[in-house]
Symmetry: D3
Subunit: 289 residues, 6 copies
Amino acid sequence: MRASFELPAFIVDRVVTLALEEDLASGDLTTEACIDQDTPARAHAVAREPLIVCGGPVFERAFARVDSLLVVEAHAVEGAHAPRGARLWTVRGRARSILMAERVALNLVQRMCGIATVTRAHVDEIPFGARTRITDTRKTTPGLRALERYAVRVGGGRNHRDDLGAGVLIKDNHVAACGGIRQAIERARATAPHTTKIECEVDSLEQLDVALAAGADVVLLDNLSTVAVAEAVRRTRGRALLEASGGITLNRIAELATAGVDAISVGSLTHSAAASDIGLDFDAGAGWA
Amino acid sequence: MRASFELPAFIVDRVVTLALEEDLASGDLTTEACIDQDTPARAHAVAREPLIVCGGPVFERAFARVDSLLVVEAHAVEGAHAPRGARLWTVRGRARSILMAERVALNLVQRMCGIATVTRAHVDEIPFGARTRITDTRKTTPGLRALERYAVRVGGGRNHRDDLGAGVLIKDNHVAACGGIRQAIERARATAPHTTKIECEVDSLEQLDVALAAGADVVLLDNLSTVAVAEAVRRTRGRALLEASGGITLNRIAELATAGVDAISVGSLTHSAAASDIGLDFDAGAGWA
Amino acid sequence: MRASFELPAFIVDRVVTLALEEDLASGDLTTEACIDQDTPARAHAVAREPLIVCGGPVFERAFARVDSLLVVEAHAVEGAHAPRGARLWTVRGRARSILMAERVALNLVQRMCGIATVTRAHVDEIPFGARTRITDTRKTTPGLRALERYAVRVGGGRNHRDDLGAGVLIKDNHVAACGGIRQAIERARATAPHTTKIECEVDSLEQLDVALAAGADVVLLDNLSTVAVAEAVRRTRGRALLEASGGITLNRIAELATAGVDAISVGSLTHSAAASDIGLDFDAGAGWA
Amino acid sequence: MRASFELPAFIVDRVVTLALEEDLASGDLTTEACIDQDTPARAHAVAREPLIVCGGPVFERAFARVDSLLVVEAHAVEGAHAPRGARLWTVRGRARSILMAERVALNLVQRMCGIATVTRAHVDEIPFGARTRITDTRKTTPGLRALERYAVRVGGGRNHRDDLGAGVLIKDNHVAACGGIRQAIERARATAPHTTKIECEVDSLEQLDVALAAGADVVLLDNLSTVAVAEAVRRTRGRALLEASGGITLNRIAELATAGVDAISVGSLTHSAAASDIGLDFDAGAGWA
Amino acid sequence: MRASFELPAFIVDRVVTLALEEDLASGDLTTEACIDQDTPARAHAVAREPLIVCGGPVFERAFARVDSLLVVEAHAVEGAHAPRGARLWTVRGRARSILMAERVALNLVQRMCGIATVTRAHVDEIPFGARTRITDTRKTTPGLRALERYAVRVGGGRNHRDDLGAGVLIKDNHVAACGGIRQAIERARATAPHTTKIECEVDSLEQLDVALAAGADVVLLDNLSTVAVAEAVRRTRGRALLEASGGITLNRIAELATAGVDAISVGSLTHSAAASDIGLDFDAGAGWA
Amino acid sequence: MRASFELPAFIVDRVVTLALEEDLASGDLTTEACIDQDTPARAHAVAREPLIVCGGPVFERAFARVDSLLVVEAHAVEGAHAPRGARLWTVRGRARSILMAERVALNLVQRMCGIATVTRAHVDEIPFGARTRITDTRKTTPGLRALERYAVRVGGGRNHRDDLGAGVLIKDNHVAACGGIRQAIERARATAPHTTKIECEVDSLEQLDVALAAGADVVLLDNLSTVAVAEAVRRTRGRALLEASGGITLNRIAELATAGVDAISVGSLTHSAAASDIGLDFDAGAGWA
């Protein structure tokens, strides 16, 4: 089964509209001056570097919200690998409309492709046969969480809990306030939805033992060495899922996966991903010259 | 005169509310379970790496929108250099409220400090005595443009035009549609507000000559070598401002400034800045244990 | 430890503002005509029937959004039982402002008290010693989900997953599309966040066996008789949590709990709760007559 | 002439979008995992109990906002009586999209049908030949007033004033503040729009006499016995419209109508209507199995 | 009794925020450059021509939304007559904040004072002893209806129906569609809220007779001569209220009032009112120089 | 080249929706009562006085947001001169929908045509051969700035800076705070975007000299006599653009243009433009009668 992903239309519309308000609320001085009203054009989004394709539905809506007559064609499915120079999408219609929406469309897909690409790089580090998943965190760009989590999935990663209401994650401050890991886990289990796993963060093997004894469903190993992680896997014996986290860099993925953790959560997928370099090339002669 | 910057309150409120809706709209399962209702706490935002301080007003509002009784104190002015370990801001009040707003507050200021810090790194490359300014571009994060442009200023950079309605920038497609640089400049001057300079992008010295002859106020030198940039400065003789752009990296700043351009616009300040590493450390005995 | 619940301020503000827009966007003809501008008043929200107190923060904000000088005092904590005639909250300030916000405030708290009260009635049916929890469903009033889920917690119930992104619940159509319960569970486990339990709906004991064998974390027993539910508990032997659902009425709670299910989800808590009868009584002589 | 009702598109869109944001803002974990991207489906909204059909335009938009390619067909007009088992509407298109919008669509139409159905039950109590109308009140669900008032009309009821700016209704507190019914009516008539009737609430026949003498256009008889209502009709002799209100139950409708009141306003039509039971049945074999 | 008017806070906030978004979303280049961060200032809104004071609460909020520490003092009540040169309101606080909000605050109050002033001019034309009221129409500025209707009341006028749902006004097209005035009135009376009067537009005395016979509560005399209006008053004999409308100019008010109509509705109060000339004068020496 | 203007679709949608919420949020009592559901109609927007056509895209969307099946046909291009009686646009579809959107559509285009028409009147005063442009100011209607600036362009005027972030305009208070015109200009040039001209307001020829010496790009001559303006032109010798402003009336345009200023900014174009008189005439036999 080929993977495929959903991004509900009303979410895309909200983000695109917000971005257009920022860039185009007072019109486009240059385009209104220089381009005749009905000049047609055709332009191609082109990968200026290798990347994982992501954001087709967003690209399409950014143009459609400026001019509903613009037509976008996709040349690759979401998640495909595009080599340098590959055409990703083509937009046709009034030149003015294309130029007015260009920056917003590119800003969004460059970010989405950037996240999908860096996610794929991490996923590709997982050794053959290992079942470890790469996940995002809540360290997303404010306002763009739905798009960035989608980009992580498109890149081959998996999502962590969406927000504070979608899962329990007991951290050091919760533990301190409750007087111990066991007490915190018990309080969470007593009140959180029965549909939610109880995850607890630990920073030592001793804490891990306590969390397991208290019945944690998932244990987050915070900033543990790979040796300690491997020991954690041994001690756990499948009683809980183990997630490694904390300043994870690309070159540690393989060893952590080999150590046997179930998940590696990587904040930098979203909080520090560089934008992919994508340009919009206009066909010469399509409407002018 | 000490530099100082403004970020209107209603802009901050809009962004903060949007971010809170994303993360907290369905509550905080863990905190409601583990923290008693009236437990007090005090927590410090601490630089985990050297950075330029940016985002105090945003940090304050993120907490205030969750609980208007939280109090935030700033330990450094916007734009200050903070060494690793420095306390940036302290928040006091109900522990629950602090934990519920923590991630949103950090996501925002980590991004803002990241941009201010990378901007400062570019600004610091300008040789003593040179008058070149480092500017941002419109390659900002959708929804966060006002905050990111503010961060650029805090970092010592300057802003480029805010949006498509705030300035004229004639690019290759406009030129192609008009039949030439001269025609494009004339059309723009005829209709754009008289308060706006006419900027024209060129990718050769020949185009520069045409743009100057047509009376461009600013010429953007797109992807020119430093040698060509120096020649452009010579030819221009102050008739227009010159802006270098296109894949600018940190190590080219000094030579471009020395060549004499008036501005260097750097998209990566905003589209690819890594988030600064900032943690929120709770005081041990402030409210529990 | 006394239970206590959180309702973030920005959520309350959004709902209250929407409700005021509906009722007061074109002013209050009667009050502007009949009440002098600075007449003071004091009014008490009074339970006209026994109820569980719920909605104090909402009541307060409804008045504050019309006039920030109104002062609200609460006479009972959230979740308390109020007998007929009990004063719940008192509001003081300009009579005009109180009259303008009265209906919006009452509409909201009558609904919230109604849900808390019917939830408590269900919770009180759980026999002593049983650990079964009463939960809500996603059958909430559009626009009011956060308030209604809060009211369920205040009433002593627990929340089910908040939304479609906060948990996996495999229903008959998912099963049909996947070709079987086992396949559906495997697909969900492969892609859903590792922080989320996999819940699967079944309508027979045979399906239960399949779901358990496939490793479901929670099984929803849809419209099963109490006898079948008891048999399901026996077969499951703690391998998964069991949730009874489907047209649950108050008089079946005790027998289902006794049968040993972990959770009973009740759509009518939110989709059909009658509003509690609460009136706003003005003090005679507080400002007029 | 057959009755027919309007619900402007932008109102429906706003409510539907708000509801989708609540339920689907972070995607649908189960559906994305279990349903292939292009699987088609067809599903029918079916009455699980007798009801008055209401909400077709809302049902349609809930699906359209998730996927503009979904097609909805209505099998009955608004206001029709549907027996148990009747198909109300059919939706066709991508199975994923249908599943993602299902709950939001059902939550809305179940509420609307519920209100239309209970309204019809009240209307059907009006004896043949009586001209009494059943009306709603302002005790509507916050955020859903337009939909609920529409449902009342569809059920055969009539609307009361929409909001505080759409009509004058003098209540006891207004009377107390003005120093008497006569003074309150005079003040209201002096300032309220000349397009608005002056309605005054009374709780005794003595007050009725005063209100009539002061020229009230409508008098609301609050919590009067049927005998007193009949006497009120006699005294009024058509000088004003009479409206009975206050804890009206279904079994008093006939006697109040016979007593001759012009309108009976019933808060429970909207504040306590149970949702109608409506299911969404998928065609087996339409897209899978 | 002194007249007084209400403008709910959440309405003012919404309008002010929208206006600030338009003018200040990308900051204030000039003020940030030229004014030091903590320079204090005091400025006075001064009438540059005689006017009716209107908009104090809006003036205050425009400044407060930019900087909650600004303090506004009102020197005159709403509705007062201000001679040329009069100080209306004074604002104190950071100079930057005052300058950033100045234009938005002035744009709003100039419009509101303009409407109040032109309304007062019309009201002053009503001869002593006549009971005719001057009213607005629905020809208001999109987005500002609540503020403009408030300004009409402050100016001594009265409001017409607020919107299409707040009253019945049968116009020529409704009549044409129904097949006659009588049929239209009957249809409206059968379905419109019983709290609403039935108003019908007529353009001849013959139509007036029909409308009266059909029981219209209000008849709008559209573009009738003063002689015809006087005849209409005679024929009506108090059976309905009469409203004159259609291209009313100031110099016809007196004669129409003398003719005895109950209301004169004047679209130009809102659709074509000139803004009052109001300046903001800064105290020299308050914070600089 | 024929002039042509852009108004992005999402801007129009936002304004139209806001206006419809105001007028139609609680339905249209009269139309629902009097017009049958499927009655078709055709109606023509007709100029009741000579005007400049403006607002076609807004007119179209106002109808489309109420009923997406309405079809609008334009009979004239934006900016055309329409004589009294000319048909501007025709709308066809359900009569109910047309009547429900009529007032909102007319309110918007009457205002836009009014602004375009008064702008054209000013532009027509410019003597043959003069290059002076007529511009708007920031004295626009809150919430309608984008539409009003568009109308100014359609009328043949030019726009001034859009908002406080789109240009520098140093006024007397900035000068006072900086200690002089020179200092203010230097501070602005140091921090404002290099794409923005520095404009400075002066109220005497002495101040003009200082501004020119300091390198102002544009000088605003505030309330200067025509003689003084002519002298200013002489002194400036093209070193800066000159803009005349301050209480400009139509009859001064020619002399100011002859004096040689580059721009005349006229606040009354937007803050006091009378609405154009436009009616909506329904075809008699198109759907009824």
